[in-house]
Symmetry: C2
Subunit: 349 residues, 2 copies
């Protein structure tokens, strides 16, 4: 279905050290905080004065988190990096250093790994991040990526999930549900292809939702906007598992309730229409789809004036007393308990 690398160099020809060296050359550190990058027992990072260090880790496994039938390798590398960067923005920080662990079997030629690293390099360049370390290993079966991101945040400015208070506004960036609907589209075209190998995928006019799934971005711009506007969120999380799941994390960690208004949830028209085509409720796609990598945060009502003209942000609800629970008011005024139906790692099989 996808173009495969035409040249195929067997992995064994480079050896483990040769392979790491080959894949990471060209990743020259740009941050003054990166004192030693790839190639030693550990990277050395010099923290800026009055700054804290943030660290987050994510694993991506073939057949679980991605399907190489329709995910180009370069996109996979890009997305793996973005997913990690997003965790740092969700703490109100800036990603700076990345390590990459990669395991795969011999069925992957060197050129395939090069494409993954190209994607990672693109993301590092776009978000001003240094690749400072990694590990490659042999896997008996599928491809495994394990990334760890280090970031920096001004001392005491990190935003946790636990700071939301009763009366705070609930705000989300961008729009939701697109990545999930994009995935449905890719799955459909894969099924068509498996039945009719000659068929060309019918993806036209759906660039937006495909990009949301295959080449998501992390919301650096939101963090910059909040800093410029003088808004310090009281709690924050990124939307990786779906709006419901993330709201419940904020409520649980902050020990508050939440009222969410269905009509306020931002959904792009492409997402909306394609969801309908699949017979899916667009709201459910936003609530349970995940992988949007938007930022969901709470802020003081007093700060409302500071964001009311932003096209990037939408107020979708407010925080209530814990006793009221987390509820959604639907378009007809009905009230529904918010339940986590996000992707769960161990239920798929």
């Amino acid at each position: 279905m996808l173009e495969q690398p035409s040249k195929k160099t067997e992995l064994g020809t480079l050896g483990e050290f040769g392979l790491i060296k080959h894949l990471t050359e060209g990743f020259a550190p740009v941050h003054p905080s990166t004192i030693v990058g790839v190639g030693d027992d550990a990277a050395v990072i010099r923290p800026a004065e009055n700054h804290d260090i943030l660290v987050s880790t994510d694993m991506l496994l073939e057949g679980v988190h991605f399907d190489l039938a329709y995910v180009p390798l370069k996109h996979l590398g890009y997305k793996a990096a973005i997913v990690n960067f997003s965790d740092i923005y969700a703490m109100n920080g800036k990603p700076q250093q990345l390590t990459v662990g990669l395991a795969c079997s011999n069925r992957f030629p060197v050129e395939a790994l090069e494409q993954i690293y190209e994607g990672i390099a693109m993301a590092c360049k776009a978000y001003d991040v240094d690749l400072v370390g990694g590990d490659t290993a042999s896997s008996r079966t599928g491809l495994v990526l394990s990334l760890t991101i280090l970031g920096t945040v001004e001392k005491d400015k990190a935003v946790k999930r636990s700071g939301a208070q009763v009366g705070d506004l609930l705000v989300v960036s961008g729009d939701l549900g697109g990545a999930y609907v994009g995935l449905q589209l890719l799955e459909r075209e894969k099924s068509v292809f498996l039945e009719h190998p000659g068929a060309q995928p019918d993806l036209e006019g759906n660039d937006y939702i495909l990009e949301r799934q295959l080449k998501p971005e992390a919301r650096q711009d939101i963090i910059e906007y909040l800093a410029e506007s003088g808004i310090q969120p009281t709690s924050m999380i990124d939307v990786s598992d779906g709006l419901s799941s993330e709201i419940l994390h904020l409520c649980g960690n902050s020990q508050v309730g939440c009222t969410l208004y269905e009509e306020k949830i931002p959904i792009d028209p492409t997402t909306y229409n394609m969801a309908r085509e699949f017979g899916l409720d667009p709201t459910v796609c936003a609530l349970s789809g995940g992988e949007d990598y938007e930022l969901l945060f709470t802020m003081k009502q007093d700060d409302y004036e500071k964001l009311k003209n932003s096209a990037l942000l939408t107020v979708i609800g407010h925080m209530t007393d814990a006793s009221q629970g987390a509820v959604m008011i639907d378009k007809s005024g009905g009230q529904h308990e918010i339940k986590a139906q996000g992707w769960s790692a161990f239920e798929a099989e």
Copy 2:
């Protein structure tokens, strides 16, 4: 062959978030530098004044790096952590914060993962390290562990692989080859067991080499000794792939040569005798075996007085001009080029 957990709780019953929470509860941060630990988008770490941050990452895959037929899960967790800590000591630093990525299939019950985390907890306690984050994922086949360790080192005191100079002494801690011979013993007993399932493993009297393989330690004591003795190594690396491979890394990164004396290589009598029993050359086990997690470093000749009474350290050679290459002088005075024959990730299959 090994005792399996008797109670078996299916992974799916806890869900991804429940599982992480379950596995990481009880890991209370001890370092004042750990501001936010497990449970948010990222951990928050406050660097000590005038200290740099070190970061290193390692992957361990079932069937490649370990065989669950003879590696108890608790030992696996312990070793996975130790291997990472060792990378930080090899930079002259102190490990402080650990993140753990774990992927496995549903064939592992919750209790199996608990045992892995128990081992990680033991190592964290013994080495004064906080578990600050992690990720669990579903794997289609084997168990995958991906650990990232953060450490700290006084500003400008990190020891790289690249600082060795002509005339420097080459020093190694402890003894070598034990982990490799221990592995041979375990492999032999596994073969016996597969042929005669009723047989009891014959491991008596070999505690030392089995422990070198199954429950290695990282050389925190050496780093403390060097600091107390006022020795600043000029270059350093830990022995994970075998003495040959590590010497070549120091030579390559420092652009020097090396003369190693076979008779000086420290080998424990248990290692020596068991190697002979297997028809292996004990020196080759030390040169190519790996997994000893000893520290190999270079230092100024002027510092020799400071270590000459240490039972922990052995001078095994000295650094020469790059044009002389890396050579070993054998017990009969013969000269051999040092070649890397350490474990190579992609040659096994």
